[in-house]
């Protein structure tokens, strides 16, 4: 590689598009996902939808690198060790450190190597974004479930990731807390963060999605712009799912 230096200078400045090629995952002999080939591009949120057990969460974990695929690969537009630092994930049940709200926000920034002088300002902005600025000194685990999920979002937002994975972020929340989470997600999306999110809530998918990936029994049956998908899904399974019929 005689011109490696030059190649480095030309390194892409986005981790997107994200592509997968023949991605599969087995657990204990059971096939959870098979032959998933996707392309996720910058823009409005991508929603992974499907029934419980369709493989949405596993796919998200494979994309984020928390699970190793049994088959196929995940491709980022830049080397994986660089791409890994530009993405974050918020889980269905937020795992908060046994520290203050502020300390929870600062922790991942320290790990990600954000320079010390920037951390406080970023944490403050992130907490303000989710409406927890006045709770900064409180023990994080004493927050309500909805507030905890907002803190998890703030923690991820403070990292200023290019791509944010969200795994059913409002599945265990009441309508008001769900609305708060959705507003934060939309704000982040408007600021240019690519959102890749799973949900089994169709109304939520309609509210948030720019495009939709429909999973069924471990297979991607469709990937389409949200409007097209919700008006006229290409597959019979997806239409049945949209009509609320059990498709599992």
């Amino acid at each position: 590689m005689p011109r490696a230096g030059l190649a480095e200078m030309r390194a892409p400045d986005s981790i997107l598009p994200l592509r997968t090629d023949g991605l599969g995952f087995n657990a204990g002999g059971a096939e959870i996902l098979s032959d998933v080939s996707l392309k996720i591009t910058a823009g409005a949120p991508t929603l992974l939808i499907g029934a419980n057990g369709a493989g949405k969460s596993v796919l998200l974990r494979l994309l984020h690198g928390l699970l190793k695929p049994s088959a196929g690969r995940v491709f980022w537009a830049m080397p994986i060790d660089l791409a890994a630092r530009r993405q974050a994930m918020v889980f269905q049940r937020p795992v908060l450190l046994r520290r203050s709200v502020l300390a929870n926000t600062l922790y991942p920034m320290a790990l990600a190597g954000v320079v010390r002088e920037d951390r406080d300002a970023r944490a403050e902005a992130a907490l303000a974004l989710v409406g927890l600025a006045d709770r900064a000194a409180d023990p994080a685990r004493k927050l309500s479930v909805g507030q905890q999920q907002r803190l998890a979002l703030a923690r991820a937002a403070a990292l200023q990731p290019e791509l944010l994975f969200l795994d059913e972020p409002s599945a265990s929340l009441d309508p008001a807390a769900t609305r708060a989470v959705e507003e934060i997600v939309l704000t982040l999306a408007q600021r240019g963060t690519k959102i890749v999110m799973t949900t089994h809530d169709l109304a939520q998918a309609r509210r948030l999605a720019g495009d939709v990936v429909f999973l069924h029994r471990g297979n991607v049956l469709e990937q389409a712009p949200a409007e097209a998908f919700f008006q006229q899904p290409a597959s019979a399974t997806a239409s049945a799912f949209l009509r609320g019929e059990l498709v599992w």
């Binding site: 984020h64 928390l66 630092r85 889980f91 795992v95 520290r99 023990p139 004493k142």
Partner: protein, 234 residues
């Protein structure tokens, strides 16, 4: 009965008058056991945390071993350290046998497995909860160790207190490597054993009362710490 009553009276007299001999013995006990605790904590806590997060072949055996070592008899530890530190032993040239330093080493060896095993137990559940989130943040097991130690700080304080209690209460190890030399290596437990066998019950009792008071105080502290922990851990 008369003897016992007068022994108690004399014992309280010794404590209340801050008898210098009693004070010196209590001070040495605290110094030895607290130093041993610090030493053991520096090794045992990170070791226990690492054992909680690391997955490697033979991990189960290592855990069984640390659990078994929790029941290490103090006299046996004393004997091992004695063999290491005696003139002809591999560390004999340091001339540490029958010094407070030898006692600190012996107690540290005694309680390190206790701290490691209890730390692993306390932090393992926390790691199960944290693992995926920390990996998402880009933290591997090594980076997780300090995080878990800090987040488990209140629970670990009770682990430390358990270790301290064990060190302060044991007699076998300090007796063997310290030699119970008056004014030099005599601590509460060895003094109690000696004075009882000599028939000097008031002094033995006085020291016994102080020892009990310290143990009680430590447990009260542990209780309080658990209260604070509950507030933060949620």
């Amino acid at each position: 009965m008369q003897d016992l009553a007068s022994a108690f009276t004399t014992a309280f007299g010794l404590i209340l008058s801050l008898d210098p001999a009693v004070l010196a013995i209590v001070a040495l006990s605290l110094r030895v056991s607290l130093s041993a605790l610090v030493l053991a904590a520096l090794i045992g806590l990170p070791l226990g945390a690492l054992l909680a997060v690391a997955r490697f072949p033979g991990r189960g055996s290592v855990i069984t071993l640390t659990n078994a070592l929790m029941g290490l008899p103090p006299v046996v530890v004393g004997l091992l350290i004695y063999l290491l530190l005696s003139r002809s032993g591999p560390l004999g040239s340091f001339g540490l046998l029958f010094t407070p330093t030898a006692m600190i080493i012996a107690q540290a060896v005694l309680i390190t497995p206790i701290l490691a095993a209890l730390t692993r137990q306390v932090l393992e559940g926390m790691w199960e909860e944290y693992a995926e989130q920390l990996r998402s943040f880009g933290a591997g097991p090594w980076r997780a160790v300090p995080t878990l130690l800090w987040d488990g700080r209140f629970l670990l304080l009770t682990v430390l207190l358990a270790g301290f209690g064990r060190a302060a209460a044991e007699v076998g190890a300090v007796m063997v490597v310290g030699g119970n030399i008056e004014g030099f290596t005599r601590v509460m437990t060895t003094a109690i054993a000696l004075e009882t066998s000599k028939g000097d019950l008031p002094l033995a009792l006085a020291l016994g009362i102080v020892l009990m008071a310290i143990v009680l105080g430590v447990n009260a502290l542990a209780q309080g710490v658990r209260g604070i922990a509950a507030r933060w851990a949620g």
